[in-house]
Amino acid sequence: MGNTYILPQYIALNNIMIDVVTKMANESIIEVSHLTKMFKKFTAVDDISFDVKKGEIFGLLGPNGAGKSTTLRMLSTLSRPTKGTATIGGYDTVKHDMEVRKLIGIVSEKMIIYNRLTAKENLWFFGSLFNIPKDTLNKRIDDLLELVQLTKWKNAQVGTFSTGMRQRMNVVRALLNMPQVLFLDEPTLGLDPQSSVEIRDFVKKINQEQGTTVIITTHMMLDADLLCDRIAIIDHGKIIALDTSTNLKKIISGGDTMIIKLEVANLTPDMVSTVKALKCADAVTQENSTTMHIIVHGEEAFDSIIDTVRKNNGKITSMANLQPSLEDVFLHITGHEVRDSADQKIKQEHGPRFGSAPKRVR
């Protein structure tokens, strides 16, 4: 008897729940509008606007000094925007910074961890800053250490850990307050491939199991490609493209653009520059002493390239039509390689920035 009364209510409730869930899926947790940061005369971040959906993994991709880290610092309340606003969970990052801080966790390339404290002491210290009740915090620390397989070393000083272990600590530290938004600033920088994979998998796991929204900056195309739902490509402080990895690649493969990997046994710098001068070549990079990586457009592109190389007495050993990678997308849009501009930036050294400073180990 009772059940017949409850049923309609249950259905109604269920409908509301579905509503909430669908709304949540489309709801923006981060809203950035005309965000600008200037260091004296240098504009590090130039009038950028974007939204990040709840539960999304959002990538900021670009060379060092493109403004990724500065953007992240502004979003995480560490730096004040010169112009524009950003909100996280509806809270303004400047006016309601304390509320924002309760919602976020940050993992930066510089590890936020004290080498002279033990793993447990480190987590205890940072956890206590969030006013988490003692018992809850204790349990959470144990869980998190277990999650990254550091339980065995919980009473060892972090200074004795390997870089990979320390980065795991660093990530786990950012999860102490169970953040809704996790900021990762170049989390795999300086890690060996295996540790990089570990961190990547871990981030994915957190995102899927806890619904944590993740904002990740990286100049590693592979990281961005494998992790991110959507990617914003940043260069010189501006967002020049923002879409899913697949859609970004369509910019290349959708048109008549092709990527050719050309191996020439007797490759000379002259040959590279003559190919570069061709009308059909959008971007040419030399990968090693025998291989060129060419982005071309047009129907006669293959022919004209082969002709040019042959005319210069080049011996073609192999030629392949490649699937576009994010690297190619970047190259196509900006006309320069990620690595190129990274080198330029480090030489220029303008404005305070993170990522270019030498690593320091105490």
Binding site: E99, R101, G105, S108, I112, R116, L117, F125, N131, R360
Partner: protein
């Protein structure tokens, strides 16, 4: 954000900082060795009165005598020996002539000399003033002054003895009172004989504790900024004041530890006696810290990295050390330097501490010092906090 949360966070941060400090073994050793060095160096190198002994002095006796009487050998030299056997100030060597004496002083074989001229006996016997010549090493004013002082003492005693002989026929009951009707007797505020350590120990204590905050704060904060851990505290919902307060508490703790070490060394090894209240001593140290915190924060705000912070502290520390009356009484300085030292909080802290430790003063006697320290501290903190806030959210 309640006051309680702010305090809770600052204690957490202070505890974390101190844990790090205690895990740093070498740092801990240096923490103890530094004040020890400071005490030993300063205490032993700067001489207090009458501490110079065993000076090598040449004696040239050119006295030709008068009517067969040699005043030099019969009166002066025995008198000098008698006095010297008590004080051990001089080690005397006979030298043949003045030229030889000067030569030996120049070579460094002797540190000074006494020349008894040929007319010494004649002058004295014929009722004139007897003259002695002191040859001193002008390149070392300290030693030269000591020899002069020692010889003047001997001459004075000898002169008095001779005068007493001369007035003996007057049948006075106390010949000394006739010759020297006035005598000086020094009486300190407290009993005993305070040494130079009594002077410097309070000063060094004040300096170490206050400097630890002024130097430690910028270094601790800029170091955390540099290695990136500061961001970890900044992205937590923690008031900036808590970070500042926590760091200050930790640095004060470090400074007080050093202060206690100095105090223990001063009492145990250098025989310094504390006349006043030990509680007042610690209260004064804390007040000194308070007056310096603002200055430390200002420096913190202006320095971007650890290296600059350290250099800036060194630059500020040296003038303070010498102008703050830690090693020398400020009364010894030229007037314009005295004026500078009057605006340094260290001057008042070390003065107050010295009055309490050496003279046994209480709060009423050091009220001026206290007021200056409190006002200075409040003014500096009022300046520092807005500056710090601005720095933290660049």
């Amino acid at each position: 954000m309640t006051v309680q949360t702010i305090l809770h966070h600052s204690f957490r941060i202070a505890k974390k900082d101190l844990t790090e400090l205690f895990r740093n073994r070498l740092g801990l050793v240096l923490l103890i060795v530094m004040p020890l060095f400071m005490m030993v160096m300063v205490g032993f190198i700067y001489p207090s009165n009458g501490t110079i002994t065993n000076l090598h002095v040449g004696v040239v006796n050119e006295d030709a005598g008068f009517n067969g009487v040699f005043m030099s050998n019969q009166a002066f030299l025995p008198g000098l020996n008698a006095i010297n056997s008590q004080t051990h100030m001089l080690i005397m060597t006979n030298v043949s002539n003045t030229a030889d004496l000067k030569d030996q002083v120049q070579r460094g074989a002797l540190e000074g000399g006494i020349v008894i001229p040929s007319n010494f006996s004649e002058s004295l016997m014929s009722g004139e003033q007897g003259t002695l010549i002191i040859v001193s090493d002008e390149s070392n004013p300290q030693i030269s002054a000591t020899i002069q002082g020692a010889l003047k003492g001997v001459f004075g005693a000898m002169g008095t003895a001779m005068a007493q002989q001369n007035v003996a026929p007057l049948n006075a009951t106390n010949t000394l009172a006739v010759v020297q009707p006035l005598a000086v007797q020094t009486q300190g505020v407290v009993s005993g004989h305070p040494s130079y350590f009594d002077f410097i120990a309070p000063g060094i204590m004040a300096m170490t504790v206050m400097m630890s905050v002024m130097t430690g704060l910028p270094v601790a904060i800029s170091q955390e900024k540099e290695i990136g851990t500061m961001d970890g505290m900044m992205v937590a919902p923690v008031n900036r004041l808590s970070i500042l307060l926590g760091k200050t508490i930790a640095q004060t703790g470090r400074g007080l530890i050093q202060g206690v070490i100095i105090l223990a060394l001063a009492i145990g090894i250098f025989g310094v006696a504390i006349q006043g209240s030990i509680l007042l001593v610690f209260a004064l140290l804390l007040l000194g810290v308070f007056s310096f915190v603002g200055l430390g924060i200002v420096v913190t705000s202006f320095t971007k990295d650890q290296e600059t912070a350290q250099m800036m502290m060194m630059t500020l520390m040296f003038p303070m050390m010498f102008l703050g009356g830690v090693f020398f009484p400020i009364q010894q300085m030229p007037w314009y330097m005295q004026d500078i030292s009057k605006v340094l909080p260290l001057t008042y802290a070390s003065d107050a501490l010295r009055k309490v430790m050496v003279l046994g003063a209480g709060i009423p006697q050091i009220s001026t010092d206290l007021i200056v320290l409190i006002v200075f501290g409040i003014v500096m903190i009022a300046i520092a906090l807005p500056v710090f806030r601005k720095m933290m959210t660049r």
